[in-house]
């Protein structure tokens, strides 16, 4: 009898973990991300100043010991704003990825499992959607349903699932002919249970890798929308909207664009490093 997939704590997962650990850049990226996440989570308690506190008389000043990253034109502490911005930027990145994960995995798994005509039809639709200017539809969605943050991550997640569905479909297509699936079918397990408990968990590697690479893409899109004024609305701030304010005032106060931009870039860098590292460790093509 073959061991159940859940009991497979031994080789593949551990080997992959060891390969990730050996990749120093990936580990560095992971460490930076953990630090960012902690700062974001604790922002209300560790930020040096109240988040919306203005000090018009103080105005915009360059970095100093009182304000490590300087202040903006309203006298708000930039370090505090960047910390709070991390909450929005990272939060949208994670939640939108979750939305895209849900849609992409179910769509792809369905197409792969059904196969034949239905698969052709479903994937053809994905091909067509691939060619469309998606951010424009997100912009329409934001205009139509209002510019609040929940609409933001649903809209972003709703347009980011195409590649995920292709990957999952490919995996399911090759997995469903394997013996353990036949065995489950012979035992009378329902198709839905086979999909959820046997096929999708076995495709976990590529799914995790691609989800890691989706997070930076989504964060970039959130920042893009906020930069244009279509995303997060003031007084709330994300790194994108901070960069937007900074770009508008960069002529006299360059630190206002430099620091939010740096925070965003370092985070995207780390995510890409981690994603590349995970791909090298988990990619089934390399493992074979």
């Amino acid at each position: 009898m073959t061991p159940r997939p859940a009991a497979a704590t031994s080789s593949p997962a551990r080997q992959a973990w060891r390969r990730v650990r050996e990749n120093r850049l990936a580990m560095l990226g992971g460490a930076i991300l953990v630090a960012m996440a902690i700062v974001a989570a604790l922002a209300p308690w560790i930020a040096p100043y109240p988040y919306a506190k203005t000090n018009l008389a103080y105005g915009a000043r360059p970095p100093s010991w009182q304000h490590l990253l300087g202040t903006d034109e309203l006298g708000r502490d930039l370090l505090t704003r960047v910390m709070w911005g991390a909450r929005v930027s990272l939060g949208v990145g994670l939640l939108a990825t979750l939305v895209s994960l849900t849609i992409g995995v179910s769509y792809g798994a369905l197409a792969g499992y059904l196969g034949g005509r239905a698969d052709q039809l479903l994937m053809r639709a994905v091909d067509i959607l691939y060619g469309l200017p998606f951010m424009f539809f997100v912009i329409i969605l934001m205009v139509v349903f209002g510019r609040n943050i929940f609409n933001l991550f649903i809209a972003l997640g709703a347009v980011q699932w195409l590649t995920m569905s292709r990957i999952v479909r490919g995996q399911v297509l090759s997995l469903k002919t394997r013996e353990f699936v036949q065995a489950a079918r012979a035992l009378g397990v329902s198709p839905l249970r086979i999909l959820a408990l046997h096929l999708v968990p076995n495709a976990a590697g590529p799914i995790i890798v691609y989800a890691t690479l989706t997070v930076p893409a989504v964060m970039l899109e959130e920042a893009f929308l906020s930069f244009l004024g279509l995303g997060v609305q003031p007084p709330m701030a994300s790194w994108g909207s901070l960069a937007s304010e900074g770009a508008a005032a960069m002529e006299p106060y360059p630190w206002l664009i430099v620091f939010p931009g740096l925070a965003l870039t370092v985070t995207l860098f780390s995510l890409n490093f981690l994603g590349d590292g995970l791909r090298d460790a988990l990619d089934p093509q390399l493992a074979r």
Binding site: I128, Y130, G131, L132, P133, F134, M135, F136, F137, I139, I140, L141, M142, V143, V144, F145, G146, P216, L220, A223, F224, F227, L228, G229, L230, G240, A243, S244, G246, A247, M250, E251, P254, I257, V258, G261, L264, T265, L268, F269, N272, F273, D276
Partner: protein
């Protein structure tokens, strides 16, 4: 040819989807702080056919689009959407083509060199730069470039449009992401091809190394790059929205953002439909190009 037959259906879906999506929006372009007098409101509604039932309006719009007419702009009453697009599109097209050309030339060359010199310092340098290139958002890079080269060194203009000097910074800002991506793709393609038998055969026959690379390896290595062109063009269109905003370039992207913020329905709708058609056509060309380069592929 099967793809050609699917085209009208795709476009119909796009037009229908965006049309009804826009109608869901609460509030219209004519909602002012003060209520308009009844007669004025009725007049405006009659002029833009807003008083007709929705299905009629939809059919009317569909008919107009088929004839290539996107209607009048709600916000600029004396302009039609067609005029605004005709005004902005040459500008956006120039910018987009420059950025893509920059990406193909610089990224392609860097990727090929990195592939040939696999694991040497050129390779490592290129790949580090490429990872940086995909991680720096264009709306961060753009202002920083302005800060350095326009405000700091004074070599290039800060913003505006007109001469080639205005084109340099926007092209780099828009193109860096694709340059990095193309470099990664062409390096991977090169690595895959360079070890294959036909390359070894060419070398064994005494073909010069330069010719081996350009004649034998390159055409096979660029295939992934060609298939990336479609998605790249799609995202260059969106990217150009940001770049046009940063550099004050009078392209379609800037009109689009303004009209989205102003609820200028016809303008938003017209731009989306126009860009979608453009992309569908572009993807078709890319597919043909791919089939030409790789005779194994048939459609």
């Amino acid at each position: 040819m099967r793809r050609l037959s699917a085209l009208p259906a795709v476009l119909l879906v796009i037009v229908t989807g965006s049309f009804f999506l826009m109608r869901l929006a609460p509030g219209g372009p004519f909602d002012m702080d003060r209520a308009l007098p009844e007669a004025v409101r009725l007049n405006i509604e009659a002029k833009y056919h807003l008083d007709e039932p929705l299905p009629r309006r939809y059919l009317r719009y569909l008919g107009d689009v088929v004839r290539g007419d996107f209607g009048p702009s709600f916000r600029y009453p004396d302009r039609t959407v067609n005029e605004l697009i005709a005004l902005g599109f040459p500008v956006s097209l120039t910018l987009g083509l420059c950025a893509l050309a920059f990406a193909l030339v610089v990224g392609g060359a860097a990727g090929v060199v990195a592939g040939i010199r696999h694991n040497r310092w050129v390779d490592h340098l290129t790949m580090s730069l490429a990872l940086g290139g995909v991680s720096v958002p264009n709306f961060v890079l753009g202002p920083l470039l302005i800060l350095a080269f326009a405000l700091g060194l004074g070599w290039l203009p800060v913003a505006g449009w007109g001469s080639w000097r205005h084109l340099v910074l926007p092209t780099i800002t828009l193109g860096v992401f694709y340059t990095a991506y193309v470099a990664r793709l062409s390096r991977a393609g090169m690595l895959e091809v360079i070890l294959q038998d036909f390359v070894r055969t060419a070398r064994a026959k005494g073909v010069r190394e330069a010719a081996v690379v350009t004649r034998h390896a390159l055409p096979n290595a660029v295939l992934p790059v060609v298939s990336y062109l479609g998605p790249a063009a799609a995202s260059a269109l969106t990217g150009s929205v940001v770049v046009e905003t940063i550099f004050g370039i009078p392209g379609v992207g800037r009109y689009f953002v303004q009209s989205a913020l102003n609820r200028d329905y016809t303008m938003v709708l017209g731009t989306v439909v126009f860009y979608s058609m453009l992309l569908v056509a572009f993807n078709l060309i890319v597919d043909c190009l791919y089939a030409y380069l790789d005779p194994r592929v048939t459609y």
